[in-house]
Amino acid sequence: MADTAPAGHNARRLVDLYRTMVRIRAFEETALAAHRAGLMPGPLHVSIGQEAVAAGVCLNLRPDDRITSNHRGHGHAIAKGAGIAGMMAELFGRAGGHCGGKGGSMHIADFSVGMLGANGVVAGGIPIAVGAAQGLRLIGSDAIVACFFGDGAINRGPFLEGLNWAALYRLPVLFVCEDNGVAAFTRADEVTAGAGAVARAQAIGVAAESADGNDAAAVDAAAGRLVAEVRAGGGPRLLHLRTYRLLGHTSTDAAAWRPEREVAEARARDPIARLRARLVDAGTPAAGLDAIAAAAAAEMTAARDAALAAPWPDPATAWTDVLDADRAGAA
């Protein structure tokens, strides 16, 4: 499949996308291996194969822009700039995690970079995103909010409510429907009537478009345009990005119900391999790209080792970050 870089895409920007994507991939492969080795507690939902969505959208955000994410949110967090050491420690449930070990993979948040939280409930981030946008306007900020959710979320009420709300108040929100074609173990098209996210958004009056979510340059280009429109005060936009979840719903799900041929075809569209091929074709030295991938792998291995070496949280911290009233009562 030939990818043609849109005008304005220089090699350096593509390399930035590539770096973010291989860091996400390396983070998740490292976490997955640790999880399968029994070193990591709890459920783990990885986004392997979907990295272009997070990288392409977040490359167009400012540090003070906010994002909300979902249960498959490591990529969104990394692309927004979340600290890797804090993320890895959080996944392992160790002291030093972004949430002090109280959240885990499904509740990664790094408010210092505008990452307002992953979410364990499908569509849970949508009302939060529109409210964050409303609050930002109230405090006089021109920051915007990017709201990541999957194809499953468009069948929940908050999708309808949130899009209507954002359109009604012309809020600065970019809704990003990361359509990997599957809601847990069920194909999205088996449970979704009508023409899907774009048609639903348009029916509400939210301008929407689709792009190839496995083509990082295409995601970047579409997101760049829509972010500019949102930031200019044009109200919300929806970007629908078709991608493919290469692995199962969780680390323990083999997703064996999918035909091997389908998965093989999807692997051939791997967004990282595609971007790499394009860069090499355009004259980027392969050695440089290999070095980026090697650095990402080393970064994640070191983060894993540091997390595994970190102490468990002090059990006393189970009683911190509670209500002020409860803390006063405990004292």
Binding site: R66, T68, G97, H98, C99, G100, G101, K102, G103, H107, A109, D110, F111, S112, L116, G117, N119, G120, V121, G124, I126, P127, I128, A129, V130, G131, A132, A133, Q134, G135, L136, R137, L138, I139, S141, V145, G157, P158, E161, G162, N164, W165, L168, Y169, T320, D321, V322, L323, D324, A325, D326, A328, G329
Partner: protein
């Protein structure tokens, strides 16, 4: 000696209006969202707000309870302090994910990064024969839920003081306005000070029985206590005002003195917050210290519509008198 603070006699709903008005004037980060709030709200509790604060701070919303609740949270996460108006409590059922899974969790789940400084106003209880979906009192659900403050005042002054405290709180406060008492009048200070959470109010003093209550049942308790007094029975009546945190010390001190406890609530008796109060007193004082430990609440049926049916199931002053006498006979 200081001059007594200026006070005014106000209805409960007007006291609540003044409290929110005072706080919105004081802090530009405070705003209100909910159905019809720009028209003053269902009960007039935001009357005049639109003219003073404009449509960005007084936001009438679609009937989208999930997003009213969730957007309030999102706006708090970027530093504003929303008052989330749910119109009546029963409609908050449409926003349980946003309330239970999100608002109540984010401070803890994100390791202290988030401060969900929201007030969720949910006028609750029996009111004008509104039947099963507009009359519920389920405050015990939320006393059971970690991560939220639960306020359930019964007087104009307490409503005003607790609402000011709720708006200034960095923690989420579920504020159960007693909608059947919106028209009740009482003295309210012109300058409304925040009332700390977890401090009960002694309504009347007596030595024979401790009666604990909150929210809209208080006037019935007072009527019952007056009738009991006429029979020579002295009741120590305590209004908890907040259910989480709640003033265990005040109740324990009273029960240690009277030896008899009756908890009265409008909500269904089974698994109501009265059970918690009784259990804590037994644990804390020991069973021997209590000659009676009882609850009075509604039967476990939905609230019916027809006046005689509603009257049959709801807690009344007569039922409170009977329950108190039964406790004294024990």
């Amino acid at each position: 000696m200081d001059a007594p603070a200026a006070t005014e006699t106000l209805t409960l709903v007007e006291a609540a209006r003044r409290a929110a008005l005072q706080e919105m004037r004081r802090d530009p980060r405070v705003w209100v969202l909910g159905e019809d709030v720009a028209r003053g709200g269902l009960f007039g509790q935001y009357r005049g707000f639109l003219d003073e604060f404009g449509p960005d701070r007084v936001v009438s919303t679609p009937i989208s309870e999930s997003t009213i609740m969730g957007a309030g949270l999102g706006a708090a996460l970027v530093g504003t302090r929303p008052i989330i108006e749910m119109r009546i409590f029963d409609f908050a059922m449409c926003a349980m994910d946003e309330l239970v899974n999100q608002i109540a969790k984010v401070r803890y789940m994100f390791g202290g990064q988030a401060r969900p400084a929201v007030v969720v106003r949910m006028p609750h209880g029996i009111w004008r024969n509104s039947a099963a979906q507009h009359s519920q009192t389920l405050e015990s659900w939320f006393a059971h839920l970690p991560g939220v403050v639960v306020a359930a005042p019964s007087t104009p002054a307490d409503t005003a003081g607790l609402l000011v405290a709720a708006i200034r709180s960095d923690d989420p406060v579920l504020f159960f306005d007693p909608k059947n008492l919106f028209g009740v009048s009482g003295k309210v200070p012109a300058e409304i000070a925040p009332l700390p959470f977890g401090r009960a109010r002694r309504v009347r003093r007596g030595d024979d029985l401790t009666m604990v209550a909150w929210s809209a049942i208080l006037p019935d308790c007072e009527t019952a206590c007056a009738a009991l007094a006429a029979d020579g029975i002295g009741v120590d009546l305590i209004d908890l005002r907040t259910l989480w945190p709640w003033d265990e010390d005040a109740v324990a001190a009273s029960v240690a003195r009277t030896g008899r406890l009756l908890v009265v609530h409008e909500a269904v008796q089974a698994a109501g917050f009265g059970a918690e109060v009784v259990a804590r007193m037994v644990e804390r004082l020991g069973p021997a210290a209590l000659r009676a430990a009882r609850r009075l609440g509604a039967p476990r049926v939905p609230v019916p519509f027809s006046p005689p049916l509603e009257e049959a199931v709801k807690v009344t002053a007569a039922k409170i008198v009977a329950a108190a006498k039964a406790a004294l006979g024990a």
